[in-house]
């Protein structure tokens, strides 16, 4: 880790007070929450935005001609503008709300996969995908005759771009769908290079930004993406809301995914027509309150600032890599040049579950298991790992507590 080239760590410790849950005690011990990559805690502004909507300004959206409905529609639709600004989408109509990243990717697998890709074409994923970016493509393969190709990752946990080029060489690939940041290894993928490689070979590219957008500013146009998916609950927002961004011409060409209220033009039993984008892809009453919560989360992140978040987390990650890897018998997975704030590891003589349980007893929450990335576990020859992950509210003292806790766990199993 080349600490010198990193920006100075921002002091974000004042922000902890914005997260009510962080003052909770676990079995009498202060909560050290190092599982934010699974889901982040929520700042007060998010909690309040949802409460306020329910207490002062709530009705169903889009179909009402009365005051409450107009106000709620405005609040809901304004989050589309906020998301478009956050990721620099060319227009608000390119923002589709989904439940989470998983649904966003499934939407693409159904509408683009069955509607645009032809049997015989291929989809490329990588060895370090989350199940949510594997299973939808397997289901598409089995239902629609699409070939599934897997791009390897190096021992350092980086995407093998040479191999990617080879997989694309026959120009039968219609879509490259890869994570922008691995939830296990922390690796950031060089998105624009991947996009250009894909485009040079006639393929579209989808980035699973579930992790990436939490730690760095994303500009979907700058990275030349075609699709970008992320999930609200990891970005300090509520559950139940996610985002699919796609280029306008793709969304316009794709058939709808779910059918129902709000996504139609006219409905006749013989034939129905579809609403314009993005509504074509939002069937039924949307997650109104959750979008409002996500809007508050985005405002919060923008106020803190991605520059400060990225610098803070980079410093924490460097520190964690240094002191955690110093625990005897501990092995860290992945050593990518460009990485975000997650650290996965195994411990000699102790299974990841046992490590997690013993850390939990010290008030330290880490995740243990396959992290919804079984093929990646196989790639690195492990069944499971423990994983610590960092958020804007994580402190250096918490990372120190993790290292101290790991030393104790080691003794317990010694």
């Amino acid at each position: 880790m080349n600490v010198d080239t990193r920006p100075a760590a921002a002091d974000l410790s004042g922000l902890r007070a914005d997260f009510p849950i962080l003052s909770q005690k676990i079995r009498g011990l202060p909560l050290v929450f190092l599982d934010s990559a699974a889901s982040a805690q929520k700042p007060r502004v998010v909690i309040e935005a949802m409460r306020e909507a329910m207490e002062t300004q709530y009705a169903n959206v889009h179909r009402g001609l009365h005051w409450m409905s107009e106000r709620t529609t405005d609040a809901y639709e304004s989050v589309r503008d906020a998301v478009a600004a956050l990721i620099n989408a060319a227009s608000r109509e390119e923002i589709v709300f989904t439940r989470n990243s998983t649904e966003a990717i499934n939407l693409v697998a159904h509408s683009f996969g069955r509607g645009i890709l032809r049997p015989g074409q291929a989809v490329v994923i990588s060895e370090m995908e989350h199940h949510s970016n594997i299973v939808p493509w397997q289901m598409l393969r089995d239902a629609h005759g699409i070939e599934l190709r897997v791009c390897p990752v190096s021992d350092a946990g980086e995407l093998d771009l040479a191999a990617l080029g080879e997989l694309l060489a026959d120009r039968r690939v219609g879509l490259v769908s890869v994570t922008h940041m691995s939830n296990v290894l922390g690796t950031y993928v060089p998105a624009r290079r991947v996009a250009r490689l894909a485009h040079e070979h006639g393929a579209r590219v989808l980035f699973d930004g579930s992790q990436a957008i939490v730690h760095r500013r994303i500009d979907v146009q700058a990275i030349e993406a075609d699709f970008y998916a992320f999930t609200g609950h990891k970005l300090y927002g509520p559950t139940g809301i996610g985002v699919l961004w796609a280029r306008r011409e793709l969304l316009e060409a794709m058939p709808p995914f779910l059918g129902g209220g709000d996504m139609i033009g006219t409905v006749r039993f013989e034939r129905s027509t579809w609403a314009a984008i993005p509504h074509k892809f939002e069937a039924g009453t949307p997650a109104i309150l959750e979008a409002i919560g996500l809007g508050a989360a985005i405002r919060y992140v923008e106020t803190v600032g991605y520059a400060a978040i990225a610098a803070h987390e980079a410093a924490l990650t460097d520190h964690a890599l240094a002191i955690v890897s110093a625990v005897p018998g501990l092995r860290i997975l992945g050593a990518a040049q460009d990485r975000g704030g997650v650290v996965s590891f195994t411990m000699e003589n102790a299974h990841a579950h046992d490590v997690a349980t013993l850390l939990d007893r010290q008030g330290i929450a880490v995740r243990a298991g396959h992290h919804c990335a079984e093929p990646l576990m196989a790639r690195f020859g492990v069944e499971s790992t423990a994983r610590a992950s960092f958020a804007l509210y994580t402190t250096r003292a918490e990372v120190d507590a993790l290292a101290a806790g790991l030393h104790r766990v080691r003794e317990f199993f010694a």
Partner: protein, 145 residues
């Protein structure tokens, strides 16, 4: 109680909705197009006939909608008859801006009687009612000049 509603439902609007001057389809026409509002089911179809000079010699419409959209269709027809396509498109853009509460004000002489629709800007869910017939007109005008 309904005082502020008079901003929206000005007498000319109520009058036009009840007693349209330009309602109905044209027997002979050069183009026709429909616009609908999927959120409520309203739709309006517009017919246009060009005169020898290429101007709009006749404009007719048919549709099912609220007082706002019917009056808007009728006043639109009146406003664009005699205009060429470019001028009609420009009027549509100006009207959209008026209805959305843009910077143009209702006493701008460019609007004439259309100024009565300035009030809809305060009723966000009714803006589409006012602009619906204009959408159909622009569609009927098509891509050409």
């Amino acid at each position: 109680m309904f005082d502020d509603l008079r901003d929206l439902y000005q007498d000319v609007i109520l009058d036009r909705a009840r007693h349209p001057r330009h309602g109905g389809r044209l027997a002979a026409f050069d183009a026709t197009a429909e616009a609908d509002n999927p959120m409520c089911g309203d739709r309006v179809r517009v017919w246009i006939a060009r005169d020898d000079a290429g101007r709009l010699g006749g404009v007719g419409y048919e549709g099912c909608g609220c007082a706002i959209s019917l009056a808007s269709a009728d006043l639109m027809a009146e406003a664009v008859i005699g205009k060429d396509a470019a001028a009609a498109r420009e009027a549509a853009a100006r009207f959209e801006s008026l209805a959305r509460g843009g910077t143009l004000t209702s006493d701008d002489p460019a609007f004439g009687p259309l100024g009565v629709f300035a009030g809809v800007a305060e009723f966000p869910s009714r803006v589409k009612c006012a602009t619906l017939p204009w959408g159909a007109l622009v569609a009927a005008l098509g891509g050409g000049a």
